[in-house]
Amino acid sequence: MPEITFVRSRSILRDRLVQLLVYAAVLVVSGVFIWILADLVRGGVAHLSWNFFVDSPRDAGRAGGIGPILVSTALILLVALVVALPLAWATAVLLAEFVPATSKFGTIVRYSLQVLAGVPSIVFGLFGNAFFSIYLGLGFSILSGGLTLACMLLPILVSTAEAGLRAVPENYRMSAAALGMSRTATLLHLLLPAAAPALAAGLLLGIGRAVAETAALLFTSGYVERMPGSLLDSGRALALHIFDLSMNVPGGDAPAYASALVLVVLLLAINIVAMKLAYGLQRKRIMPA
């Protein structure tokens, strides 16, 4: 009778089963994505052409293209990011580096942001309409829409950046301080670069949400489909255009599909670029392979 036996045990079977389940889950998730993408391509690709990207919509969007809509979307996004990023990252630095983790102030700020993150976007839209459009007199404009989106993006940008900063090993701070480096220098040269992948990931999530946003823009940037002349003009965002075409325009299915395809491909591209960016930043800091 050998002392050690190598009989297949039940635990191996269990491992196999778990493996199988994991693969199945992955398959389902990617299957859903591929299905959506395939559906969009099937319905929209015939409608795509160079002119679709540059022309103005005609006949309520049934004909023509989405040129001004792309421009409006980009401008709204730009306003939102220019306002939200500095605010959010400064808040994250404050929360992660300058106030103790358990302090009352930090807890209150964090809690408010959590609440803000849970607010439905239609409520942001109503708030933006009341505050930016009416109270501040910005009317239905790209500026109103961008500012509303900025409010909406704050929680996501702050929480990802704060988590990224907190994940930086404490010994970087300790050894930097022990070398007599100031907190600012430590932040700029060590902590922010180390947190860059997290910052990029947050930015990406933010852009994704902003580009796909409909409800918050409905009452703020409006749905005028003309090319915007300034930030104070109304401008129709891409997601809103898709919504309008599919809900209010009979016979608007083909351009709706095409626009949706553009939106999804855009999101994909942003994802890939941001991932590359984060990877590049990491490489630049020379991590071990």
Binding site: P100, A178, G180, A185, L190, A194
Partner: protein, 287 residues
């Protein structure tokens, strides 16, 4: 500081406590028992836990002082109090005085950045930044106003030679510091501290995360630094303390608080300890 001041400090210190030795009688030639760090009635608390209770101790210029004692007796806390790294720990409170070159470092007038430039620190786990080898030395140097490229390079080369790393890395200064071996990383950290031309080096178990050979290399390096720098080293390796230190301080936890039990010439601590606990600890019976 003139000799009169020194004598006065020594007299006052002798009056205050019994641990500090008088003038050096025997011992290594490098040791001129001039206190450079004077710790007086110093206590350190985390929330309501006392890590150090009324420690009084002098650290002598140019000497190696070893801190020994079991885990949790406050050795790391003691080291971080000397360069005020304790400022970074939110729940840490200090009471008492630490003077470096006669200046109370817990005064508000003390510039911590200058203090920490004067007092280098090496941690237990090697802590190079996730940057290139070159940038690891360059970054703190630039922070302290050394910005000319030629000067930065000269200093970098010199300190890397000092720690015996130059011939190992001179052809790959731009590769990742984290790709070095543990012993090399630790020597890089020492080089990085030396680049700032400190007077004092604090070392918290600098060899304990290294294999025996790397540990030996670092130990030899520390011996080589003796006399040029004042070194305070925490070590769990009693043989190492005995080999390299001029003075030794023995800490022990009494009533859940860290106390300094005995301080003296390294040889005396190991061969003719006054306190029973010290005798038991150095003979390996406890701790």
């Amino acid at each position: 500081m003139n000799t009169h001041d020194i004598e006065e400090i020594q007299r006052s210190v002798e009056k205050q406590h019994t641990f500090t030795l008088g003038p050096l009688q025997t011992g290594p030639a490098c040791c001129d028992p001039q206190p450079i760090v004077q710790v007086k009635n110093f206590s350190l608390h985390y929330d309501n836990k006392t890590a150090l209770d009324k420690v009084t101790l002098d650290i002598y210029r140019g000497c190696i002082t070893a801190l020994i004692g079991p885990s949790g007796c406050g050795k790391t806390s003691f080291l971080s109090a000397i360069n005020r790294l304790t400022d970074l720990i939110p729940n840490c409170k200090v009471v008492g005085h630490i003077q470096v070159d006669g200046v109370d470092i817990y005064q508000s007038a003390c510039d911590v950045q200058v203090l920490r430039q004067q007092i280098g620190m090496v941690f237990q786990k090697p802590t190079p930044f996730p940057l290139s080898i070159r940038r690891n030395i360059e970054l703190p140097l630039r922070e302290h106003g050394v910005t000319k490229r030629a000067e930065v390079e000269a200093v970098s080369e010199q300190v890397l030679r000092d720690v015996g790393l130059w011939h190992e890395v001179h052809d790959r200064l731009d590769s990742a510091a984290l790709s070095l071996s543990g012993g090399q990383q630790q020597r890089l950290c020492i080089a990085r501290a030396l680049a700032l031309k400190p007077k004092i080096l604090l070392m918290d178990e600098p060899c304990s995360a290294l294999d025996p050979i790397a540990s030996g290399v670092v130990e030899d390096l520390i011996v080589g630094l003796q006399g040029r720098y004042t070194i305070v080293i925490v070590t769990h390796n009693l043989a190492q303390a005995r080999r390299i230190a001029n003075y030794a301080a023995f800490f022990w936890v009494k009533e859940r608080a860290g106390h300094l039990i005995e301080f003296g010439h390294c040889r005396d601590i190991f061969e003719t300890p006054v306190h029973q606990l010290t005798a038991a600890y150095v003979s390996g019976a406890r701790g």
